[in-house]
Symmetry: C2
Subunit: 151 residues, 2 copies
DNA sequence: TATTGTTATACTCTATAACTATA
DNA sequence: TATAGTTATAGAGTATAACAATA
């Protein structure tokens, strides 16, 4: 069981990386882009903390996303040290495409499974998650959660 | 679903690494040790190919295992370039302990699941594996299989 | 000339610690 | 003095390519 889970998990995340690659994104870029859209107008550090990404790594990721015109760094109204992250129109568009691709992958993973089989599997996985102590927080790829981990 | 699978797989393999760590093994060491026991008296390269581990990495892993007295490099009868890998008595003992620990982890993962729920989950995961194209070959941790991958 | 194992090297990735500008 | 973001740096990990012995 442990072997199957780890094998499947690795392959799932590998294929997800491939899919994102077709859109010019790495999983980390997608994760940050998604988090920035969800928690609109948060500080760069706040987003980094949320995903357990160290500050110096965040710089590189945000640099990339900003270079692609997908997000903007905006000044913080009251703290001139901080930067507010904001998804651009182009970022929203790409994120929508990325989500669509993710749905396609989702469908590919579950091909041949009926609706109740899928529900059954999800329920069993939820119990496994509890046993493993993974908190169902955060975003695609990588657990982040509460452990000292990163993207 | 994809997120859950990748999250669970990552955590499973992380915890497996922790468990192996208590025995002084990294997952890669366990994988090679296990493979050497299963495919007794194979060439170092043959084992490496089996696990998709590049030759130079194999050297380091086998160095470690030999340094711990868990396996031996023996001369090949007909090819003096090649080395035959052989599990020592001590290696067998440690491997048995490692397998026992793996069983404990297995039990921890499946706590609260009845026998038929476990079977159900395994069956569903097998179908997911097919959808993902993972061949159920190889050894614990990491997919290896046929893709250009490594430990 | 090709192949096994080894060594050396270059590359990527990541985190730690210094640095600046603000607070 | 502490903090947000940045930059520089060092460390680990991995693969690629050169190398020696043998086929």
């Amino acid at each position: 069981m442990g072997f199957a889970l780890s094998q499947i998990g690795l392959e799932t995340s590998r294929q997800f990386g491939e899919v994102m690659g077709t859109l010019g994104l790495e999983p980390r870029h997608f994760a940050v882009l998604h988090a920035v859209q969800r928690d609109e107008d948060q500080t760069q550090q706040a987003i980094g903390d949320l995903l357990a990404i160290p500050a110096s790594t965040m710089v590189a990721i945000v640099d990339h996303l900003e270079g692609e015109g997908l997000i903007e760094r905006r000044p913080h109204v009251s703290d001139r040290r901080a930067r507010i992250l904001h998804v651009t129109k182009r970022g929203e568009t790409l994120l929508a495409e990325a989500m669509a691709e993710a749905m396609v992958q989702e469908a590919r993973i579950c091909v041949g499974l009926g609706a109740n089989e899928r529900a059954q599997l999800l329920a069993l996985l939820a119990r496994i998650s509890l046993n493993l102590g993974v908190s169902s927080s955060a975003l695609p790829d990588r657990g982040s959660g509460n452990r000292p981990q990163t993207i």
